[in-house]
Structure formats: structure tokens, C-alpha cells
């Protein structure tokens, strides 16, 4: 079965602290994985993507993610969060060749001043 699990519905961190948002996927084929961010009442913005190669991929605004085939994971990290990072973060799996995306339930990040 194809699925994406984000085990943390909500994460609260202090500004300047480091961040990790967890993501586990289930897919029998080669996974193409993404992290998207959604700010309140807006569409989704692509943070980063993983297709192959170096398991650590860099994204926008200082975000990075690490792919692990053995753990079926694609965790998102940031060394130092800013209050403007408060948003909902979706881990997403691309399946097949018709562009079908499987979304996790999302993790709401709240950054406290």
C-alpha cells in the first residue's frame, strides 16, 4: 500500500531552536518525495524534493531533508527556526507516472517567540 505518515500533528518550538518534522512513507517502487509548506489560507509552496542521489537535500529558507531507504523516512530539518516558519508542513509521495501525489496529514508548526 502507498501511504505517508506524519506522526506529529503539531510541533511547538521556540524561535532559534532546531527543528525536525518526521515523515515515514510506504511505497514498493522508487520513491519521489517532497515537502510542501502551507501558510494560513494560502496554497502550497514546494520546500524541497528528493528523486535520487545524495540522501540529504537542501531546500528553500534553510530547510533540508534526509532520505533513508532503510527506515522509509524523509525527515525535514532546520537548524534555527524563525517565527515566520509557523505553518502546516506536508510530506508528499509521488506515485506512478500520472502525477498522483499522496499527502501526509500534515504537521502544524508553531514557533514561539
Amino acid at each position: 500500500a502507498q501511504s505517508v505518515t506524519q506522526p506529529d500533528a503539531r510541533v511547538t518550538v521556540s524561535e532559534g531552536a532546531s527543528l525536525q518534522l518526521r515523515c515515514k512513507y510506504s511505497y514498493s517502487g522508487t520513491p519521489y518525495l517532497f515537502w510542501y509548506v502551507q501558510y494560513p489560507r494560502q496554497g502550497l509552496q514546494l520546500l524541497l524534493k528528493y528523486y535520487s542521489g545524495d540522501p540529504v537535500v537542501q531546500g528553500v529558507n534553510g530547510f533540508e531533508a534526509e532520505f533513508s531507504k532503510s527506515n522509509s523516512s524523509f525527515h525535514l530539518r532546520k537548524a534555527s527556526v524563525h517565527w515566520s516558519d509557523s505553518a502546516v508542513y506536508f510530506c508528499v509521495l509521488l506515485t506512478g507516472n500520472t502525477g498522483k501525489l499522496i499527502f501526509g496529514l500534515g504537521t502544524t508548526l508553531q514557533v514561539q517567540p
Partner: protein, 114 residues
């Protein structure tokens, strides 16, 4: 640069009334196009995709239909709205070819069915 527009920005409609939501992509020829639905506070679910004019594939049955009358236009519609249709509708596009699979999303249309 490619831009994606959705209209209207928001709609409040009565149960049983018709609906038409639109999406236009500028600056990109022959994109793949997608419709997604997001329940309030929920995750996203792909509804339809289209790889060419006149061809639309349904992914989930929600008593909605979609059409692609032009290369750069994608329409989502229904003749009779249900309460369960409320939510946030997002259009997205992607490039053809194996080199790029990421999808780019529009600003969305918020639909409230009363």
C-alpha cells in the same frame, strides 16, 4: 515565469446549486494539470488530472467533474453542490517528462456550502 491563477478566490453557495471553479496557467505550454480538495484542517486529496486538452482522468469520485477546454485552462464543476463539497480547492501544474515531477500549486478557492 509561470503563473497560476484560480477563480473565484472564495465562494459561498447553497446546497443544490451549481458550481464552476477555474484555473489558468500562464507561461507554460502543455502542462499536466491537477485538481485537489482539502477539507478544513485536513490533508489534500487529488480529484482529477489532465495531460492534454480534452482529456481528464478522475481519481476520486466526489460528484464533481472536470474539463480542460484549452491547453492552459482547467475547470472544476458540478450541477448540484453537497454540504460535503465545502473546503479548499487547489489547482496545480507540472511539467511533462521524467526530469521534473514536482507540482506547483495555485492560491486556491475556498468554498463554503450552506
Amino acid at each position: 515565469a509561470q503563473t497560476i491563477h484560480q477563480w473565484p478566490v472564495a465562494e459561498i453557495k447553497a446546497v443544490g446549486s451549481p458550481l464552476s471553479l477555474g484555473c489558468t496557467i500562464k507561461g507554460k505550454s502543455s502542462p499536466n494539470l491537477y485538481w485537489y480538495w482539502q477539507a478544513t484542517g485536513g490533508t489534500l486529496q487529488q480529484l482529477f488530472y489532465s495531460i492534454t486538452v480534452g482529456q481528464v482522468e478522475s481519481v476520486v469520485q466526489l460528484n464533481l467533474s472536470a474539463s480542460r477546454p484549452k491547453d492552459d485552462q482547467f475547470i472544476l464543476s458540478t450541477e448540484k453542490l453537497l454540504l460535503s463539497h465545502s473546503g479548499f480547492y487547489l489547482c496545480a501544474w507540472s511539467r511533462l517528462g521524467r526530469s521534473s515531477y514536482e507540482q506547483y500549486f495555485g492560491p486556491g478557492t475556498r468554498l463554503t456550502v450552506l
